[in-house]
């Protein structure tokens, strides 16, 4: 049980619904089938996200088997951390449910009486805490993000601080969409543990254009595929 495994997360940070490229919901589904959890955060700033935006965020997170939320831009720092945290917990629970079936003959954790559940949940939290976490942030850089970009940049650096505090540690990669004049999505920073490297990458960002969410997710999948470290081995998790 001391084996460290890699938790793979994508966190989408956006203030609107996608309007270019393939459907983000389909790419999220694909990601999930590859063991990557897709979470989504909708940003508000003196305005509305809109029904379309809200529905899309929920759909992306559901297809990606992740967590979603809609928050004020000022709360982004805590929300990013909470979403990453909750996503890890959810991933661990799902993995363990499979083991529980074999060992205890129950379908899932909730079939264990609440008082006895504590030990399993505690153990899950510990395993999650000791796992290495790889997180890709998809940052919306469309025109409407202009007023929120500074807050977003700061919150992303802050998430790296949170990941560093974990017993298992973690790293962040950053993809901006749109990526620039010639690309729909661009990898601004590969996976890194260095705060200054991330800050430099963030400082190079500019807002422009539309919202190609699907292509951004596609870019994230490639990033994970090109990563050399091994994915979570389910068989190595012993309850």
């Amino acid at each position: 049980m001391e084996k460290t495994a890699a938790l793979k997360q994508i966190i989408l940070v956006t203030d609107g619904h996608s309007n270019r490229g393939e459907s983000p919901v389909e790419v999220a589904r694909e990601a999930s089938s590859q063991g990557i959890t897709v979470n989504a955060l909708g940003l508000l700033h003196q305005g509305e996200l809109g029904e379309l935006g809200r529905k899309e965020i929920e759909a992306i997170a559901q297809a990606g088997e992740g967590v979603w939320d809609i928050v004020q831009a000022e709360e982004l720092a805590q929300s990013l951390q909470m979403i990453s945290q909750q996503s890890s917990v959810q991933t661990m629970e799902k993995l363990v449910n499979k083991q529980l079936k074999k060992v205890l003959g129950v379908e899932s954790i909730v079939d264990i009486p609440p008082e006895k559940r504590g030990k399993v949940l505690q153990m899950l939290e510990e395993i999650g805490e000791k796992s290495y976490l790889r997180c890709v942030i998809l940052l919306d850089c469309s025109g409407s993000m202009a007023s929120k970009l500074e807050l977003a940049k700061d919150s992303i650096v802050d998430l790296l601080l949170s990941l560093q505090a974990r017993a298992g540690g973690g790293e962040i990669a950053l993809i901006a969409f749109p990526g620039g004049r010639d690309s729909l999505a661009k990898v601004v920073s590969d996976f890194t543990q260095q705060v200054d490297a991330l800050e430099t990458a963030l400082n190079s960002l500019k807002v422009r254009g539309g919202t190609p969410t699907g292509p951004a997710l596609r870019e994230a999948l490639s990033l994970f595929q090109s990563c050399l470290k091994t994915p979570i081995q389910e068989e190595s998790l012993v309850v």
Partner: protein, 311 residues
Amino acid sequence: MADNLINLLPGSIIRGRWSKKAYQVESLLGQGGCGAVYLVRGGEKQEIYALKISREQSLLNKEYHLLKELSIYPRIRTLGLVPQVYQLDDFWNGEKYYSYLVMEYVQGLNLQQLLKKKTQFKPREVVGIGLLLALALERIHQREYIYGDLKLENLLYNEENGQLRMIDLGGMSRVGESIKAFTPLYDRASWGQGSRKGDYQYDIFAFSMLLFILTVGKKLKPERGKDSLRKVFPLLPQDKEYGPLNKIIIQGLEQEYQNIASISQDLWYLWQSPQGKNSVLTSTSRLPKVVNAFLLFSLLFLFFSCCLFFS
């Protein structure tokens, strides 16, 4: 999280899957990212309780066990520092599965609401609040937990009898683990003063920042710059009566205290000192009654234990 949203109308019934006990919803007390708290009526005598609902069962489970662990301590019980917890159960809301916690319903204003009303707390009140909060933190640290999400909104304070109650203990972490939930203002990493790893100092910083806000009378925006913390020290009131308290707060923020007990000791000394006692004349706090009450309880307890031991 948005997928935690639950909307229970007054009159709806929550029936526990395991206990089969039923509770009737009276009203919504509060809604947060992790779930909602409802005022409910239930049990044989149809009493009032606070019922906390969430899909994040690890949070609720932690809170349940921690509240049970803390209520073992006599002083935590007699001072009512944490709410009583009665039951942990699940229920199926038609389409979604939730866990819930049945707790004592505690009324009152939290420190944030009081701060708005009062604009500033007197030194003796701050010391009194600090002493009670430090006691709770001491016990939490003894169980090897870090509170993590200490903030004004999580502390109910009764100005009449000086009673302090901590609500919302779901965000705790074990010592050595990363902080699970935080608020930037009280988070030392947001001020560039250390990591977000859970150690006792993390709580001491948050504790000191809380006392700082009560003393200064307003909340601040943290910045990660090297000197951003020192820049706010001059905001502390410069009147003579705040002097010793300011010193304790600054020391706490600079993380110079080894543990909660030592900051508690300094606060206690201040409370007992002639200067501390004199400021009673300017303060309307009636906290001494609560503090004296627990001293009395401790003495009585000791007396009876001795009687039993020798009988």
